[in-house]
Structures are given as structure tokens and as C-alpha cells.
Amino acid sequence: MLELISVTKKYGKTVAVDRLGLSCAEGELLVIFGPAGAGKTTTLRLIAGIIPPTSGEVRFRGQSLTGVPPEQRNMSMVFENYALYSHITVFENLAFPLRARKLPDAEIRRQVQRMAEIIHIEDLLDRRPGFLSGGQRQRVALGRGLIRDADVYLLDEPIAHLDARLRHQMRGELKAVCADKKATVVHVTHDHREAMALSDRMVVLNKGKLEQIGPPGEVYHRPASEFVAGFVGDPPVSFIDAEWTQDGGTAGFRVEGQDAPLPANEEIREIIRARTSVGQLRLGFRASEVEMRTTKDERHTVRGEIYVVEVQGHRNLVTVKIGKNMVQVSSPPGQQGKVKDMVWMNLDPGNLHIFADGIGIYHPPASMATARAQ
């Protein structure tokens, strides 16, 4: 088990990582995900021992790593900027860590060949790094990092520079090779698809602070905060501002520009009642969690106006203006509805994510979200 215990890293007055606590089990693939400046790379460097924490400690198998230099941690790190040996071939770059272990030649050739297939560079083994494209160099660096036997693999945006097609393909390969090796991996990315697709658990960081840690499905369906909801998924969660009202006996959410409040179920009323102050409320949903109609009916009661319609092939993505809020809804390809049309949406609070002062206080039951996504 790799553990970070209340780790803080300050550069002068800037807090890059703020009292971060997390753990990564052996054989687990943990993905650290967040926007630029979230503290992702700093966290990885703290684990590797390249920089010391200002306070707190990193532990591995129960032992503190404080004072242990990077080369004694038996961790393999792959950087975003690939540090390859420029005077030897790709084959020798990959073989290097194996030769250091004095493996027999035949075994080295077998392992290098296997890794070359995984990272799709079989035909480049005789070249020197100077003759490779940026994407190819990045793959060689990844291969060299993975071919080693290490206790922990630390991967910093290892496939970020590849073009989209290759990145998607390599993502699957990376997941498969890590599973085969039962490797303990901490992987850093700013790409939410990569984070979701690869991780056993994902860590969402923002401004050096932990926003949420959990399996990707949980982070996706039960985002802990507005930040997580608005950052994970493509498109991410849409929000509308709401106010709590108990006028006329029906408790619910008043949305600007709508005739009637959206009635809340008993569970939501309980949650709101339990709060000392209601706070700033926002309702959230994913594009596939709600529906839109061109006529009003019993279920489709929230009025909006189509802002744009974007074709995605297997579906359309419709941006709708509800009062001041822009929300996105998916609709089947070819469905009617054009810019400036009035539409009606089914926003039942029981099926929505509810946030108060930026914190998730209610999520629809998971089974419901899954069923609707299908």
C-alpha cells in the first residue's frame, strides 16, 4: 500500500498540494485527474521523492519514505517530456533496464519485442530517438518505464502527446498491460476519458485539494462537488440555479422564468430540512439523464429555448437556454427541433443531482441513472 498522509507542498506562499491524504493498494491503478495547476504532477513528484513535502509524509508498505532518495524507492517514473538515451537505438533504450538486471539476451529480446507490440513501435526498434516523432518518442519512454520491474509505476501524462486515434488505442493497451503485470500505478492526466477508462479509482484534484476519490462510476454518477460534476464527463453536468420554496404547501425548487416550482420528493425535503441554512442551490444533470420535447405535457414542464444543435453522428447534442442557464441535452439523430424553438424538459428533482454551496447533497439512485443512460 502506498499512502499519502496529509501531504502539503508549498512554494513560497503558493500551496501546490494542500493536506492531501490518499492511498493506493498494491495492484491498483489510481488516476490523478484535474485541470492545469491542480497539483497533479507535484503529487507524483512527491511520491517519487524528487521533491520533499513541506509537511506530512509518504509511506510505502507501512514505512515512511521521508529521507529515502528517489533511486532507492524502486519506483519507475515516466515523464511528460521523454528522457530517452539519444545515442542508442530504441531497442537498446527499452533493453536498458533489463540489462541492468543482467537478464539473458533471449529473455531481453522477448520482453522488448512484447513491449514494442504493446506500444506499436515494432518497426522502429533499430532507430535512434532523434529520428522519431514526438508521439513515437513518448511511446518509447512509456515502454521503457513499464518494462522495468518496479514496486510502483508513476506515469505523468504518458500518452498526452499522441493524436486522438492512437491515444484511444494506447489507453486500452496501457490498461491491459497494467492489469497483466498486476502493477501498482499512479497515473496523472487532464483527460477525463483517460481518467475514467483506466482507473480502478480516480482522484479528482483542484487547486491542490482533494475534491473526490472513488471508482470512476461513482465519481461520474455521484459527484461530490459542483467542481467534479462540471469537470468530469463530455459533456459535463449542466446546472440550473434554483431557490427552495414552500409556498402553498408544495415544497420544491423555484427556477427563474418557470411558472411553477419543481416539486421535491420526501427524501429531498428531509435533506433540505436537515440543513441549518439552505444555501445556494443548483440542480444538475447529464445530457443523457433528461429528455426534451417540443410540446408540454405532464412530465415535460420546464420551458427552455434551443440555443444550438450539434451533430455527433450517433446522437445530437442540444444546448438549451433555461432562463440564464445553458444546459445540454442529448437527442436521437434526426430529431426535430431547431435554433430558437421553444422546448420542454422533464426536470424532476428526484432524478437530478442537487448541489448546495457547491457540495453534492443529493444524487438520483444509480440504477435510475444507468437505465436512462442506456
Binding site: 492545469a36 486500452g172 462510476g217 464527463g233 450539434e310 450517433h314 445553458m326 443512460a373
Partner: protein, 364 residues
């Protein structure tokens, strides 16, 4: 707004043929996206429209008149990469006002148009700031607003939002699309991102190796790709392909590749009967149109093994090893399977596309 016509436009840099004879009509007010991988010639094409590059041969016309002898500024085009050239000492307001003042607009009119544009691009609360105090996304919006404010005849955008994060990119995409609808400018957009091109454009021009592969509405290039390059470039996850030979057994026609056999759908069987189906064939199927079975359900299904499952929230991508090849299938988000587990795939026959294996052209 102007119409833009490209007539057999050709561009050679020393020995490299960047653009190899492109002809295209862009209607006034149309939004066209040039889409292709890096090095396909899309940016060179745009730079020739802008007048930043000379045309090696061919002609470029705005509203039917050749613009080859006009300098960039005389063509009245606006370009998105003006984004990076904001005046650092001027406020956002002054940056936006600059092109209007230069054109002799009155100060009341200038202020009104600046506020209008700021409202449209949603930078109303940034007007007093200087560019040094803007985020990269905000600078991009200001650059966009400044380029748009002088009502160009043609608006050229070269990868204008590729550096933004997912959320900002989704928002900007919607803004740009709506701006086009509201302002009605002729827009030419260059991108390597198929999702962006599909989302934004009235028509997409798909380029590869300096050639125009297909020009069509987003629906046309997705549903009826002209060749296997377009089919593979459009759509995410990408289309699955199976190359093989067309073989007849009894009344049924098959695509055979090593140990894999895929039954041809009736539409292709008809073509095979009248002899217009190439013998060497590539079949394509999008990952959305395949059903996965854990048991052998139908002798026609393709047997394979689970390679990896990647959950992506609203769906998951299942990669299956089929003999020597791999297929990707979009499955529900809670899909669960063990690595190496046997599965059977049923491609939906109505969504199977066929291409000539040699030329890559779609078999219609």
C-alpha cells in the same frame, strides 16, 4: 458576407505538394469546416484563402471575383489567430473598439457595438481588464470578439479552441455555432477534431494528403462516407474494419478473413449476385451498432475474446480480440466481463458498410 470559390487550387512548397487540386463552393453565410489529420493541407488551404500564402496554380474567388491579386487586408477576411495579438496595454474594451475606430466609427456607435459584441461572446464583465489579467480561455474569447466586430466578408478560424479544456471547449463550440447563426457570416473553420467539425459546420470538407476526400453535411459524412478513410476518421470510437475476400457458399455470401466469417447483408448480396461487388472487400461497422452475447447465439455471430473494458460514464468501450484483429463495441456503463472471456459479436446488418479493399471507395 461573401461566397468563396476554390478552383483547382494547388500548392507546392519546394518538393512537397501540400494541396493537390481542390475545388469547392462555399455559399454566402455558410459554415464550412476543413477536417483532416496533420499534414493534410487544411491549414495551407485556409492560408491561401486568407492571402497569407500564394497559390501555386488555380484560382480563389470571393463573390465570383478572383482575389489572387489582393493583399490579405484588402480581402476583408478576419482570422481567429488574431487572438494572440491583443494589445497588451489597452483594456479589453479598447482592444475591441480599435478596429471600429480605425474604420471611422463614432464613439457612441463604437461603445454600443463593443457592448453588444461583449454580450454575445459573454465577456461583459472583462471590459476594464488588460489582456495580462485574462485566462487563456478569456483571451481567446476577446480575440474572437475583436475579429468578429468589424463584420468581415469571410471569417477564418484555424483550430481556435483546441487549447481549451473540455468544458470551455464545449461552451465555445456552442458560442461559435450560435454566433454564426446570429451574425450570418461566411465561416471557414480548420480542425483535426472530427467531433468539433461535425458539431459546428453546415458542411464538412474532409481532407487527406492534400486531396479533398468528401464534402457533405455532418449526417452525410457519418452515415454515407465516400471511402474508408472518411469512414475511419469520422466517429468516436472509430469504425471497426474487417478486410477479406468475398466467398459464395450455397445461397449465402461471406466475407472471409483467416478463421473469421461474416455474412454479407442482403443489400450487398444483391450486388454480389449481379457481379458489381469487389472480390477483395473491407466491411465497416460502427461500435454503436454491434450487440455482444456471452453465449453462442447465432452461428453467424463473430467469436472473440474480451481484451479490455473502458468505462466512460454514460457508456463503456469494450475491445474484443477477433482472431488477428480487434473490434470495439459501445456497451452500457455497468457492463462487466473478465479479461479473456469468450464473447460473440453481432454487427447489425443494416449498419454494415462495404468498401473496395484496393481503392477504399465505398460500395453503394
Amino acid at each position: 458576407m461573401a461566397s468563396v470559390t476554390l478552383k483547382s487550387v494547388y500548392k507546392q512548397y519546394r518538393k512537397v505538394e501540400a494541396v493537390r487540386g481542390i475545388s469547392l463552393d462555399v455559399a454566402p453565410g455558410e459554415f464550412i469546416a476543413f477536417l483532416g489529420p496533420s499534414g493534410c493541407g487544411k491549414s495551407s488551404t485556409m492560408r491561401m484563402i486568407a492571402g497569407l500564402e500564394e497559390v501555386t496554380s488555380g484560382d480563389i474567388l470571393f463573390d465570383g471575383k478572383s482575389v489572387l491579386d489582393q493583399r490579405p487586408r484588402d480581402r476583408n477576411v478576419a482570422m481567429s489567430f488574431e487572438t494572440y495579438a491583443l494589445y497588451p496595454t489597452l483594456t479589453v474594451f479598447e482592444n475591441l473598439a480599435f478596429p471600429l475606430r480605425a474604420a471611422g466609427s463614432s464613439s457612441a456607435d463604437t461603445a454600443r457595438r463593443v457592448r453588444e459584441m461583449a454580450e454575445i461572446v459573454d465577456i461583459g464583465d472583462l471590459l476594464d481588464r488588460t489582456p495580462g489579467r485574462l485566462s487563456s480561455g478569456q483571451s481567446q474569447l476577446v480575440g474572437l470578439a475583436r475579429a468578429l466586430i468589424r463584420k468581415p466578408s469571410v471569417f477564418l478560424l484555424d483550430e481556435p479552441i483546441s487549447h481549451l479544456d473540455t468544458r470551455q471547449r464545449a461552451l465555445m463550440r456552442a458560442y461559435i455555432k450560435r454566433l454564426h447563426i446570429d451574425l450570418g457570416y461566411t465561416m471557414v473553420y480548420v480542425t483535426h477534431d472530427q467531433e468539433e467539425a461535425m458539431a459546428l459546420a453546415d458542411r464538412v470538407a474532409v481532407m487527406d494528403l492534400g486531396l479533398l476526400r468528401q464534402v457533405g453535411t455532418p449526417e452525410q459524412i457519418y452515415d454515407r462516407p465516400a471511402d474508408s478513410f472518411v469512414a475511419g476518421f469520422i466517429g468516436d470510437p472509430p469504425m471497426n474494419f474487417l478486410e477479406g475476400r468475398c466467398v459464395k457458399e450455397g445461397e449465402q455470401y461471406w466475407l472471409v478473413r483467416d478463421t473469421l466469417r461474416l455474412a454479407l447483408p442482403p443489400r450487398l448480396v444483391e450486388l454480389a449476385r449481379i457481379g458489381t461487388l469487389p472480390e477483395e472487400l473491407t466491411l465497416g461497422i460502427r461500435p454503436y451498432y454491434i450487440t455482444v452475447f456471452f453465449h453462442r447465439n447465432d452461428p453467424l455471430d463473430l467469436p472473440g475474446h474480451v481484451y479490455v473494458v473502458e468505462p466512460l460514464g454514460e457508456m463503456a468501450i469494450l475491445t474484443v480480440k477477433l482472431d488477428q484483429t480487434r473490434f470495439q463495441v459501445v456497451v452500457p456503463p455497468d457492463f462487466h466481463a473478465e479479461r479473456g472471456q469468450p464473447v460473440w459479436l453481432k454487427p447489425h446488418p443494416e449498419h454494415l458498410m462495404a468498401f473496395d479493399k484496393v481503392s477504399g471507395l465505398a460500395v453503394q
